[in-house]
Symmetry: D2
Subunit: 346 residues, 4 copies
């Protein structure tokens, strides 16, 4: 159920509606918009009668929401959500590029890549410190050391750090170092972790599970938002199909679909999504042309030597040519490529 | 196995290689290129010894081809294949748009749509006369009458006709009326039909089966080309996955993948690929940005009244806006949108 | 729509209902049952008004059928269909075993296998003469010669021949030699071939397409039955999923599902369904325990030397042990294993 | 790498091999077998040279293990693992039945069901207290209260409790009440939880993720075993495919495949696997005939009123008939149905 308030109603009308909701045993969620305020009702105490609200002062309408997701729904909030990270925005008219290696492998490696990317204007640095891996014997990341190296890179370059949080145990540690928490595909159904992230106010890049429907992705976002954290950025990263030439099948249909169903921004990860560096530039362009709010791309100065996923990493020169392409493409989509080409003195 | 000839060798060197191949019980396929001639060897008589050819006059090299497809492989022919339809080209630097209704429903309907599309510059008219349907009780098309109406539309507008061929029985009839034969997704594994089409010289739009891998699509093309018909245009039209919000999952990864593996042109069908008209414009743009050679799009003046697939058809005004977008996007991809905006007097 | 007649009505009541149906522009299908006659109405002229029939003499009820398939539906005919092949039955209380090599490779090979299987009591011999193959360069079968060898094997052993029909062109040839036509997975959507088979009266083993839903399988059967051929035996043979350890994922859920939805018999092909001979015996047992009416199993005296699919063929001794197992299992499922252990003198 | 010791070697030979492994920076895992001891080597420090061990006293051979999973592999331990729960065994010659409602809904409900199942001889009671749900607004279980009710049911009936652990936070609480921890499909990739469970000694029922390959399931088990907990029971519960008639596609191929690849026991959950109570009995029988070590089945006295998943729960009488069937089927598979029909006085 969603209560739509009339434009410019006095604050006390809003408060009365919220009190009414609580008195019925539900939770209220105020959703501010440019034109009017909406109030979402959540809770598992059964159906609410819309008539209880329609007659209240300042209420325009009380509408049952037909989708299983509510707070993340475009029905509830028409305007695009813009997530603020430091002085930068993700979503809206921005086309954001997040780049970096799959894993932080050493202090030197991450500082070198960060400085190289920063020179190209990239503002968001990715790099895994805690790596969930299918095999217990595979490299699991540099952990706390990796976070330190990322923070040092951030301080040297002014970049924002995007890094994965793997479990509730390390959430507060990772949140201390990261500007944007990344929640990996394998954790999209980890509801306890979603809830815990919902209790922070950190921006979170929520990756679609590789066999999750778009509806399930939105439900996972709903878990976070329902706890009060609206800073959710969705991310399409490829689904599992019968096709074997590509590691995953990057599902760009998810981009216009999410745009239709939800107000949250959506990025695309063509590196994991295809698993092959040769497919990254064309699919990155395609993602932008489909309406994505940005890209997260693996870049490595020496892909052959990467400790994980080297075959899907772009070399710096290929990445630079892609940025030139996107510079041209972004305005056609009504977007501005979020690169900072001002000189940095460190 | 593939025999690469040296540049500018005398014709008799080529003929001697071909005779050798035949004397060994195999078939030879001459593949002309801008720089040199290559000769493919096919047949199921086991492996051929490369040394039998390496010492022959005019032969540069004899290379085993590692992929199961040969004649359609980029290894065999490096340059893009361009398929000629009347005075127009599909592939190469052209961005082709094929548009029209799912089915020919009446003479008036197809003439009206054709004239409307022709005014917008569209050169290729689609429309099904023979419709393969899951249910024996569903509308199966106007059949021979539908072909007559399409031909009349072609004569009135100068457009090329793209229409589906459903079986070997009606192949010669359809081939008489069509400029481009369309082979539907359900027939991609119909090897007898592929062979029969291979024996004509008609351009054919070969749609990927909805559960076919890219390799299987290329093998289906190989069936046609192996019989001598090189006028094959591939088409991605959505695959079957677990996602239920979209009718199919349009797999744009297939576009750069096909471009890497094969010299054949590839179009994209976002109408069947998504099954939802709202997703058609963004996915059409994405297809072009991924490197597709063109699009096949369902357009209907009155989608609600269409006898089949109305929900995935664009209205004329939405289609026109998409063409404007593509006009802008094509040059960025090194392509020229194939629209003819000259005045037509009929 | 389905017209249910009262028990024991005079023949003229039935005829009057059928005339009425035809006068409305539809086709009538008489469906005899043990207790009463039902009459199915098919055609694509829109909805029929049940009241037009309810008042007619001898009519018990006129019920709209809710599924897209009608004539094959359990709603329309409650009793299990039993397909007669010579003196043998498939379906009902019979557990049928069809065995033999993937392909007929030579006269000696098929005669040897047939005689060996016949000694074990097997009554149905499989073997492909026309083989649809993904590659145009792969072995396509011995064709007409293969059919001759199969027929000779049949005459020597008294076995029934099950062999694949690949296209409409060779249908009448194959139908001359085969006791049961096999329609392969790749042809399940070949509606023209389904219709042509529907016009014969031959028993047909209709294999599920590897990405076909159970509903689509039943619709394919409906194509055949709608043309008058009720001798349809369904076959589950594995679907395409993300799992890569097995060639296909044998979907045994299809067995109880088909039993619930349809009156047609259903067999299971664990050889293609798993693609690995080691999985064949356990999955064959599982198929029977799930309620299948029989099995089609690849057996080869020397799997390593098979021209196709050797890795999924059972050796004779493994097959024999499986038969012993099924002999024990069949009665538990209310079935009798259809083996003929009488002595054959040829 | 796996070190195979000769039969009956002195203990000090074993210890010396283990010391050598540790000195190289790896972990050693002693794997006792009926005939001989094997020692697994794990760690991510690169490849080990087999020759370092082959010359050591008591060593029969040092073999590289070809699969990505090691400790759970049949190559490493040939004999079936039998997991002990109280006085009962899971695996080996036992056919185990775990039954109960999807969720614990109230004290009365669970006591009633437990007593009913106990009378039928069932020894393992399932019931969810912590329920991971796609929607944050759905019923999430009775939590700690639910555990209390389960424990009371266990004490009254002598049954073992199988209940889901949802996250690391509640692991120690759940482990206090449960006899077997259930790890749900959505948590199969939750590596932190797998590791924590690996540090307990509790038997764990590890469910296959609905889009996990069999190899990934075995890797998840490897995570647990690598930490020292060998009490792992695998569970097939249906995978996500294109088929829409069934909620999931129960993949029985996984049963013989796991039996071939691993020594761990595997159960099957036909309730979630099909999502439809009508398919549960045939698929339960099929699972046993495919070689499963047991079943986990939802039973509810009043399915219509269940708070979750009622449509897939068996009524008590249907469950009882299934048990009768399995009683007959088990011996054919060399198993003994683990029911205790002794009288209970509480």
């Amino acid at each position: 159920m969603l209560i739509l308030m009339k434009p410019d109603v006095p604050r006390e009308d809003v408060e009365q509606v919220k009190e009414k909701i609580q008195s019925l045993g539900f939770r209220s969620h105020e959703i501010p918009g440019a034109q009017r305020i909406a109030i979402g009702i959540t809770g598992n105490k059964g159906r609410v009668d819309p008539d209880l609200f329609k007659s209240m002062s300042g209420v325009l309408d009380a509408v049952p929401v037909s989708k299983p997701f509510k707070l993340v729904s475009r029905e509830v909030k028409h305007e695009d959500t813009v997530v603020r990270v430091g002085a930068d925005n993700i979503g809206g008219r921005m086309l954001t590029v997040i780049a970096g290696p799959c894993s932080v492998e050493s202090r030197d490696q991450i500082l070198e890549i960060a400085s190289m990317l920063r020179e190209m204007g990239v503002k968001f640095l990715r790099g895994g410190a805690f790596k969930p891996r299918s095999s217990p014997y595979a490299f699991q990341g540099l952990k706390a050391d990796g976070l330190e190296f990322l923070r040092e890179a951030a301080e040297k370059t002014g970049m924002h750090i995007v890094t994965e949080v793997k479990d509730t145990e390390t959430l507060s540690l990772v949140a201390e170092y990261a500007d944007v928490l990344q929640l990996g595909a394998r954790n999209m159904y980890n509801f306890s972790l979603l809830e815990k992230i919902g209790e922070t106010n950190k921006p979170v890049l929520l990756k679609r599970g590789f066999s999750a429907t778009v509806e399930e992705l939105l439900m996972a976002a709903e878990y976070i938002v329902a706890r009060g954290n609206y800073n959710v950025i969705l991310c399409e990263r490829g689904i599992r199909t019968f096709e074997t030439y590509t590691r995953n099948t990057l599902d760009l249909n998810a981009v216009p679909l999410v745009k239709k169903l939800s107000h949250l921004p959506i990025l695309v990860d063509p590196s994991h999504g295809t698993g092959s560096w040769e497919l990254v530039p064309p699919m990155a362009q395609a993602a932008v042309a489909a309406g994505a709010d940005g890209l997260i791309i693996e870049v490595h100065p020496d892909p052959e030597k990467a400790l994980s996923d080297g075959f899907q990493s772009l070399r710096p020169d290929t990445f630079r040519r892609l940025m030139d392409r996107l510079q041209e493409l972004a305005p056609m989509m009504g977007k501005s490529l979020s690169l900072d080409t001002s000189v940095v003195t460190t």
